[in-house]
Symmetry: C2
Subunit: 283 residues, 2 copies
Amino acid sequence: MEALVESARRKGSAVVVGLDPAPGHLPPEIRALGLPEHLAARELCLGVLEATHPYAAAVKLQSAYFERLGPDGAAVYAEVLRAADALGLPTIADVKRGDIGPVAAAYAEAHLSVYGATAVTVNPYMGEDAVAPFLEEARGLGRGGGAFVLVATSNPSAEAVQNSSEPPLHEAAARLVEGLGRTGPSGYADAGAVVGATRPALGRRVRELLPRALFLSPGYGAQSGDAASVRALLDERGAGVLVNSSRGIVRAFQGAPEADYKSAARDAARRMREDLAGAGVKT
Amino acid sequence: MEALVESARRKGSAVVVGLDPAPGHLPPEIRALGLPEHLAARELCLGVLEATHPYAAAVKLQSAYFERLGPDGAAVYAEVLRAADALGLPTIADVKRGDIGPVAAAYAEAHLSVYGATAVTVNPYMGEDAVAPFLEEARGLGRGGGAFVLVATSNPSAEAVQNSSEPPLHEAAARLVEGLGRTGPSGYADAGAVVGATRPALGRRVRELLPRALFLSPGYGAQSGDAASVRALLDERGAGVLVNSSRGIVRAFQGAPEADYKSAARDAARRMREDLAGAGVKT
């Protein structure tokens, strides 16, 4: 994850801007263009990217919202990834793929090489076979990328699967991350973890298991997490967490009727960077 | 899963033909055409589909092998799904997606509605929130589709994640399937389970937990499973299992140098149907 850590340090920002072109949430000025849905999604993503990149460590693309736009959506997904790359911004393909062996290798090739994301999110249900091929692909590409493995997600129904056995599933996932990652010059491993910020005790426990992993934490703003709740995830240095906000930035215009969507997104990203820094989240 | 059960009964076949256009395994007669990679994959999938559909209950498309072909691959994926549909053959999109709420709903819309698969495979790591949207989408479409949830996969590294806690993860996944599925006129629920055939004791245990679920079992042939090992997964009626073979059919030409790839695939699918029926696998 060297590229992500380097970018976060250079920008002084732990902010990941989530480019989620969810259906039914277009800003009025894009709706007014009357574009086909995939081109409206393209406009939104490129506009938010342009407005927010000075304040972001990385951008994260939610694959599902491009997949539902069919083959045209795949082309837009490719274009947005290229546009972020042209701005020097690392990209996280939020694909949560989980398959094994040659199939996992094909997913890794698709999203890290063909589409060119810096990092991906990965689902560990099928074990090591489902994670290792992504790390191998990232290492082969040598661009400082890696994989964030789902460890402890913050959605309500995760509890019954991830935390209800002994030992709990999140520990098995954390062991996978710890066992497969290789630590780089930044001090962080190329295997990271997706850890929600809404349950501090669980977050602290996962941090104990993964002292040198970069965490990707969703849920800032819209999903009831805040900067204070991120503190439980920090490492010894007070760093090691990238915090994603999707709705809070892409839909910031909904809470700022006088502003255009780009200004609203820019202000939201800037405020989030300051909010995190103010809460002691280092990069 | 009514459409899948109906098709299996009509064809007298528990065979699912896995259309896996894996890189580096093209038949010589397609290689000789010198096509771009996505068109070679298209040729292979449409050729195997044409050759094998009389012997198949369904076809399964491995999403990863289309994703690695970029936006052109997405168009081929769409075309192959339409071609199967035109032959009256139900389709399983092997996407193993695992995300929650509106993101899961977008994946469900993508693969069941936009691309038009009959059923999908789903990863339960994030719990009920990750499974329910697929069932809702399938119910809304009313085409007798559903979702196969990963429960007990047969890859070696699954053990450390799925079977190493108390209660084991596969039980939590099975409870999810049992709780969310709705039983249709066929006697099977619209939530099915992916269960490997390589560990009979585990298979029998999952069948006890899920008496009315349709199982999708990978690994026939290439992955060391055989018709006898499928028997552990059968329900009280001696049915309830669809068995996938990918390499064994799509790459059957590699073991039959005198035959063209379509004849080799056709023979492999026909033999597999007979092999399963001979072992007492009913439909």
